[in-house]
Amino acid sequence: MTTPLLSARKLEVSFEIGRKGFFGKPRLLRAVRGVDFDLMPGRTLGLVGESGSGKTTTAMAAIRLAPSTGGSVSFEGTDLMTLPAEAMRAQRKHLQVIFQDPYSSLNPRERVGAIVREPLDLMNVGDPAGRDDRVRELFGLVGLRPDQMSLFPHQFSGGQRQRISIARALATNPRLIVCDEPVSALDVAIQAQILNLLRRLQDEFGLSYLFISHDLGVVQFICDDIAVMYLGEIVEYADRPTLFSKPRHPYTAVLLEAAPSLLRRKSAGYRRAGMVKGDLPSPMNLPKGCAFASRCPKAQERCRAEAPVLRDVGDSRVACHFPLD
């Protein structure tokens, strides 16, 4: 059994959002509630869920870009949560991020060559004289031309900007890249270019991805393991073929049923088999039992009284009292 590259245990993130009166107790929003996951080297772990499910907060807390309020995260055996600031900074070169919006994540006043070079300077990676060569090499890797290094971000299309973000993330030779909805802002034709590129780079450099997405088609394409999140908890955790062919949690089944697919045709009289009612409940007043019970087609008395914990069912881990066969 290989050891995981990144492993989170009982990860918690709470935000204080105002209080009742000046002397009142602060009201807490529990955005991430006791999340466990293991990301194996060279693999891609997908965090899937709707807006407000806590997928981005989980990933950002795991690499200490957002403060966690409990739990531990170990990266190659080092506990990131207790690491002193300077030692954490030294770890940053192994942990990089690609953000969703390629328009706001690049400094508009900096030339893109300098943007990609910056991590090398900050982390003091390699010999300063050789860094421009490294930037040139990175441009080639992500499918940009070295003569574009002196341009500014606004001179590039969305897809090209995402390539620049990828080049910047790759600069320090990281072992882990957090990809936060990296293709959601792109046109479908450009999405495919970026997804293929991410997979090629993974093969070439043995990268591990923590991949955040709400698009199950994208997740099915790129992820090896998948954690489905609902209101700050993982409700199902399985490898790709297991999750997509045999969803166990009713919420996973609902997500799969909801996502449009070329295989579902109006011409063939396609009707969706049941859909959940309503929206995600407010994370401020979480119910006592299962957080999904209010929308779940299979909810029973026990679901409303007792919160299910993640347990092994078949090849999956599922947090449900009545998992699907």
Binding site: S157, V188, A189, N196, Q220, F244, A259, L262, K266, S267
Partner: protein, 328 residues
């Protein structure tokens, strides 16, 4: 059967800082009563402009309808007066937009806003209109409609707001509903609810729908016929099955091949094969030449493609490509 909405050879131009740019160059489309027509393409292909043209809502300036005919229910509305267009809009042709928050007025309750649409077009008292508002909110699946009618838009979730927009759109039983990316801002489960609702409403009221989307999955699930647009032209048109199963234009093939298909090879433990790619990006409209606008990104393109624009010809179904159906 005659078409409900028909665009023939429609040409729309915009004044930009690059001079006059042709946003739609000779679009011809028919929407039949009761059917759903999908318009699909990447950002900037002209699909939203086509929708606005159907409503007579091309902003002028900077936009100009410089050619062609827009016909609704047998009436030429290309140069109809604003008065006539205002009668049609909201009553016979309704539209829902991508972002329901920006299309609702934040300082009025949603009940007031739906009632306004009703009172504008129908002869009835405010009390009757209010009753109808409750009924409409119920039709679009909003729980506790009496209470919700008194809510302001910010008190509702994105999905609820889109339901309110749909309630408003169907309040006068329109013959045509234009939906411009109605679910892009919504989560998948809410998107599914809205799609289900649109299908129910079509079955119940027989309204024709024009669905503008970039999502081929939505096309499969929702539409009867599809027009694929690229750089201001329709480049392929047919029934949804023709387009999805036997696409003839290399661009359409690319659009279908580049999306990861949910459910295909779901149980396979092998890695899924790489996605098809369409290299490059959509060319800016002011730099289009005489040839095929897609030639630069096309693996089949030759000198003929770069010199002569292919007409929309019937090759099984209408397609604008010199190499229709060929494999690279």
């Amino acid at each position: 059967m005659s078409p409900l909405m028909s665009l023939s050879d429609l040409r729309v131009e915009f004044d930009t800082r690059h001079g006059r740019v042709t946003a739609l160059s000779g679009i011809s489309l028919d929407v039949m009563p009761g059917e759903t027509l999908g318009i699909v393409g990447e950002s900037g292909c002209g699909k939203s402009i086509t929708a606005l043209a159907m409503m007579g809502l091309i902003p002028n300036p900077p936009g100009h309808v410089t050619g062609g005919v827009i016909e609704f229910d047998g009436e030429d509305i290309t140069r109809a007066s604003n008065r006539r267009l205002r009668q049609l809009r909201g009553r016979d042709i309704a539209m829902i937009f991508q972002e329901p928050m920006t299309s609702l007025n934040p300082v009025f309750t949603v009940g007031d806003q739906i009632a306004e649409a009703i009172l504008l077009h129908q002869d009835m008292s405010r009390a009757e209109a209010d009753r109808q508002v409750i009924e409409l909110l119920e039709t679009v699946g909003i729980p506790e409609p009496e209470a919700r009618a008194k809510s302001y838009p910010h008190q509702l979730s994105g999905g609820m707001r889109q339901r309110v927009m749909i309630a408003m759109a169907i309040s006068c039983r329109p013959k045509l509903l234009i939906a411009d990316e109605p679910t892009t801002a919504l989560d998948v489960t809410v998107q599914a609810q809205i799609f289900d609702l649109m299908r129910d409403i079509q079955a119940k009221f027989g309204v024709a729908i024009v669905l503008i989307t970039h999502d081929m999955g939505a096309i499969a699930e929702m539409t009867d016929r599809v027009a694929v647009m690229y750089a201001g032209r329709v480049i392929e048109q047919g029934t949804s099955d023709q387009i999805l199963d036997t696409p003839l234009h290399p661009y359409t093939r690319g659009l279908i091949g580049c999306i990861p298909v949910l459910g295909r090879a779901a149980a396979s433990t092998d890695r899924l094969p790489p996605l098809a790619e369409i290299p490059g990006v959509v060319p800016p409209l002011h730099l289009l030449g005489d040839g095929c606008a897609f030639a630069e990104r096309c693996a089949l393109a030759d000198d003929h493609c770069r010199a002569v624009r292919p007409p929309l010809d019937d090759k099984g179904h209408p397609v604008a490509c010199h190499h229709a159906g060929e494999i690279a």
